[in-house]
C-alpha cells in the first residue's frame, strides 16, 4: 500500500512539474498554492473554479461580440480579452495569458479573422488546462484519502524548495 501511494505521489509530482515545464503554469500558480493553508483548505480549487467560470463567460461574450452581423465592436472584444488576461495572469495560467496578449493586439488591429481564430485557441487552451488541473486535483484527492500526509507538502518541497 505504501509503495502504491509513493508511486502515485511521484507520478503526481512529475505531472505537476511537467505542467510547469510545458508552460501551462507559472510562478503565480505557485503563489496561489502558497496561500492555501488549513484556514482555507480549498482555496486553490475555489479560485480555479472561479477562473474557469470566468473563462466560459468571457469566451461567450467574445463569441457573441464577434458574431455580430453588422460591424464588430472590437473594443468590447478587447475589454473581455483584457479581463481574461487579468484573471489568467492572477491564477498563473501562462498559456492562456500569452494568448490573450496576442488576442489584444489582434483586436486593436481589428483583424476579424485573426480574432476568431485566436478566440478558438483560447477556448481550447483553457479547456485543456482545466482538464489537466482537474485530473491533478482528482489524484491529489485520492492521495490524500489514501495517505493523510498533505499532498501539498510534497509539492511545496519540490516546487518551492521548502521543507
Amino acid at each position: 500500500m505504501d509503495s502504491h501511494v509513493a508511486q502515485l505521489q511521484m507520478q503526481y509530482r512529475n505531472y505537476i512539474l511537467s505542467l510547469y515545464q510545458q508552460g501551462f503554469l507559472d510562478d503565480q500558480f505557485t503563489e496561489l498554492k502558497s496561500l492555501q493553508d488549513d484556514g482555507s483548505p480549498d482555496f486553490v480549487a475555489e479560485v480555479l473554479s472561479l477562473f474557469f467560470d470566468d473563462c466560459v463567460k468571457l469566451v461567450g461574450n467574445m463569441a457573441r461580440a464577434l458574431d455580430q452581423t453588422g460591424t464588430v465592436d472590437f473594443s468590447q472584444v478587447g475589454a473581455n480579452v483584457h479581463q481574461l488576461k487579468g484573471s489568467s495572469s492572477s491564477v498563473g495560467a501562462k498559456r492562456v495569458k500569452g494568448l490573450c496578449i496576442n488576442f489584444k493586439e489582434l483586436c486593436e488591429a481589428k483583424n476579424y479573422e485573426g480574432c476568431v481564430r485566436c478566440l478558438q485557441q483560447v477556448d481550447i487552451e483553457y479547456k485543456t488546462l482545466k482538464a489537466k488541473l482537474q485530473d491533478m486535483f482528482n489524484v491529489s484527492v485520492i492521495i490524500v484519502h489514501m495517505n493523510p500526509v498533505s499532498v501539498w507538502d510534497d509539492f511545496n518541497k519540490i516546487i518551492l524548495g521548502k521543507e
Binding site: A79, Q134, V139
Partner: protein, 520 residues
C-alpha cells in the same frame, strides 16, 4: 515630536486595517481577498462599484482604504476613485492589468495613492497601509501652513518614493509637498475653509479680507486669499460657459428632480473630472480637491460670481450648484449615483430581484448524481493517466480528440469539491449574460436620452448579477457536507456526462451557438 508619537501609536495599526476591495473579476477578487487576509487586514469585497460607494457612504468611518480595479462594467475605476477621494477622502489604490504608463498617469491624476499591476503580489499589499498613515498625517499637518511642516512632508515623500514601484508617479499632493518655497499650498482642508467662508459671506460679499477673517488660518495673508479667489472665479467662469452650452440639452432630457439630486452630490466629482486648463498646477490641485461639505446637501453660494446663472433651485430649499456639475455629467456619473431619494426604489427592486430568484434556484442546484462502480473508473483513469505522463498532452479520456476539435462551451463542470457549483452557476449565468451584454453595448453610446434606459437596465443587472454572486456563496458552503468519496465519484461521473453532451461542433460559427445553447 508629535510625528513620532503618531507613528508609535500606529504600531498596532496595519493589523486589522479595514480594506474595501472592488473588482468585477471574481477570480481576482477572491485572490485579492485572500492576500489581504494574509496581510492581516480586515477585508470587505464587492464586485460592483455602485455597491462599494453605498457601503462607503453608509458609514464613512467603516473603512480605512479602498482598492479598486480600473476596468469595471458599471463604473469606470477612475470615476470611483475620484468620488471616494472627494466624498470620503479615503486613500484609494488602483489595480489593473494595464501596465501602460498612461493609465498609471491617469490614476495618479485622479488622485490614486498607488497603482498596482495584476497579478498582485503579497509583498506589494503588505505595504499599502502606509497610504492610510500618510493621509491621516497630512490631514493634521496641513491644516496649518508652515515651512516646517512642508519640509517634514518632503522627507516622508522621499522615503516613500524609494519604496514605490517603477511605474508609479507622484501624486499631486506630493508635488505640492515638495515645494520648498514659502508659499501657501491650497490643500483640500484649506480650500474647504475658503469655500465655507465664501459661502458664509455670500456671493456678493466675497472679498478677500472677509474670507480671510472667516477662515481663521495662521500664516495666511489677504494676498494669498485674493489670488486664490481670482483663480477660482476664472475657473468657474470657464466651466460655467461650457455648462451653459450643455445644460440646455441635459435639462430637456432629464427628469429634473433626479437631475437635482444628482447634481447636488456629484457636482464636485464632475468638476474634478474636467481638465481645468489653469496656469498653476497648484490651483488645479486645489480645485480638484474640492470636496463636499459635511452636510451633503447645501451648497449655497459656493460659486459667488455666477449666482445669476443659477439654474435649478430645488424646492427642498437647497440651491444647486450653478453650472458646475451639469456639463461634465458623464452619463456614467448619472448612472452610478448616490443613494438619494431617486434611488432607494432601485435598491428595493434589486433586493426583491435578489431574494426571489435566489430562492428559486437553490433547490435546483443540488442534484447529486449517482455513480456506479466508481473505484473501477478511477483506477482505469489513473492507469491511463500514469501511462501518459511523459507526453502529458494526451488525455486519458476516450474522446480526447473530440475534445480538441469541439470548441463548444460546455457547462462549467465544477472544479472544486462542490460538484454542483458549476451546473447551478451556469443556469444563473444565462440569465444575466444577455442583459450584461446589452448593458455593455449601451454604455458605448451614451447620451442623455439613453440614460434613463440605462438606469432601468442597470438596476436589473445589478440585481441579477448580485444574485449570481449570492448563489455562488450558497453553493460553495453547502458542499462541505458531502463525503469525499461521493464527491470524487460524482465529479468523475459528471465529467463523463458532460463529455457525452458534447455535440459535434464545427470550427466556424456553429460553436458559438452551441455555447449559448449549453449555457441556457
Amino acid at each position: 515630536m508629535t510625528v513620532e508619537q503618531d507613528f508609535e501609536a500606529l504600531d498596532q495599526f496595519p493589523v486589522g486595517m479595514r480594506v474595501l476591495a472592488v473588482d468585477d473579476d471574481q477570480t481576482c477578487l477572491r485572490i485579492l481577498q485572500t492576500l489581504l487576509h494574509r496581510c492581516q487586514y480586515h477585508v470587505t469585497t464587492t464586485d460592483k462599484a455602485q455597491t462599494a460607494l453605498e457601503l462607503l457612504r453608509e458609514n464613512k468611518n467603516k473603512f480605512d482604504l479602498v482598492i479598486s480595479d480600473v476596468d469595471m462594467p458599471d463604473m469606470d475605476g477612475f470615476k470611483l476613485l475620484e468620488l471616494v477621494g472627494l466624498e470620503m477622502d479615503l486613500p484609494v489604490i488602483m489595480l489593473s492589468a494595464h501596465s501602460d504608463p498612461k493609465y498609471v498617469m491617469k490614476g495618479v491624476k485622479h488622485g490614486a495613492c498607488d497603482y498596482l499591476l495584476k497579478p498582485v503580489r503579497i509583498e506589494e499589499l503588505k505595504n499599502i497601509w502606509q497610504h492610510v498613515v500618510r493621509k491621516s498625517k497630512f490631514k493634521k499637518m496641513k491644516s496649518t501652513v508652515t515651512n516646517g511642516d512642508h519640509s517634514l512632508g518632503n522627507s516622508d515623500h522621499k522615503a516613500n518614493r524609494k519604496r514605490k514601484d517603477d511605474d508609479q508617479s507622484e501624486e499631486e499632493e506630493q508635488e505640492r509637498g515638495n515645494e520648498k518655497k514659502p508659499r501657501v499650498i491650497w490643500t483640500r482642508e484649506l480650500h474647504n475653509k475658503f469655500l465655507a467662508a465664501v459661502d458664509h459671506v455670500g456671493v456678493k460679499n466675497a472679498v478677500p479680507k472677509k474670507i480671510l477673517d472667516l477662515m481663521n488660518v495662521d500664516n495666511l495673508t489677504r494676498e494669498n486669499v485674493a489670488s486664490h479667489l481670482q483663480k477660482f472665479r476664472s475657473a468657474l467662469k470657464k466651466i460655467n460657459n461650457e455648462a451653459n452650452n450643455q445644460q440646455a440639452n441635459m435639462a430637456a432630457a432629464m427628469d429634473s428632480h433626479y437631475f437635482m439630486q444628482m447634481s447636488s452630490l456629484k457636482g464636485f466629482g464632475s468638476f474634478h473630472h474636467r481638465p481645468i486648463p489653469l496656469g498653476s498646477s497648484q490651483f488645479h490641485g486645489g480645485a480638484a480637491t474640492m470636496r463636499h461639505y459635511p452636510s451633503n446637501r447645501t451648497f449655497p453660494g459656493m460659486f459667488p460670481p455666477h449666482v445669476s446663472s443659477s439654474r435649478i433651485h430645488n424646492d427642498g430649499g437647497y440651491i444647486m450648484l450653478q453650472g458646475l456639475p451639469l456639463p461634465p455629467l458623464d452619463n456614467l456619473h448619472i448612472n452610478n449615483n448616490n443613494n438619494n431619494n431617486a434611488l432607494p426604489s432601485f435598491t428595493s427592486q434589486q433586493r426583491s430581484l435578489m431574494v426571489a430568484p435566489n430562492n428559486h434556484f437553490v433547490p435546483e442546484g443540488h442534484q447529486q448524481s449517482s455513480s456506479s462502480s466508481p473505484h473501477l473508473e478511477i483506477n482505469k483513469r489513473l492507469e491511463d493517466w500514469s501511462n501518459n505522463i511523459p507526453q502529458s498532452n494526451v488525455h486519458s479520456k476516450p474522446d480526447a480528440l473530440k475534445w480538441n476539435i469541439d470548441t463548444s462551451t460546455t457547462e462549467p463542470t465544477s472544479f472544486c469539491r462542490d460538484t454542483d457549483f458549476g451546473s447551478s452557476y451556469a443556469t444563473t449565468q444565462a440569465d444575466f449574460l444577455d442583459p450584461f451584454q446589452m448593458k455593455q453595448h449601451q454604455e458605448n453610446n451614451l447620451d442623455p436620452m439613453t440614460v434613463a434606459q440605462l438606469l432601468r437596465s442597470s438596476s436589473g443587472n445589478e440585481g441579477l448579477l448580485f444574485m449570481g454572486q449570492h448563489k455562488l456563496e450558497n453553493d460553495f458552503m453547502d458542499s462541505d457536507a458531502a463525503s469525499l468519496d461521493d464527491i470524487v465519484n460524482s465529479m468523475m461521473t459528471q465529467q463523463e456526462q458532460s463529455q457525452a453532451e458534447f455535440s459535434e461542433g464545427d470550427l466556424g460559427f456553429g460553436w458559438q451557438n452551441n455555447s449559448l445553447r449549453t449555457c441556457i
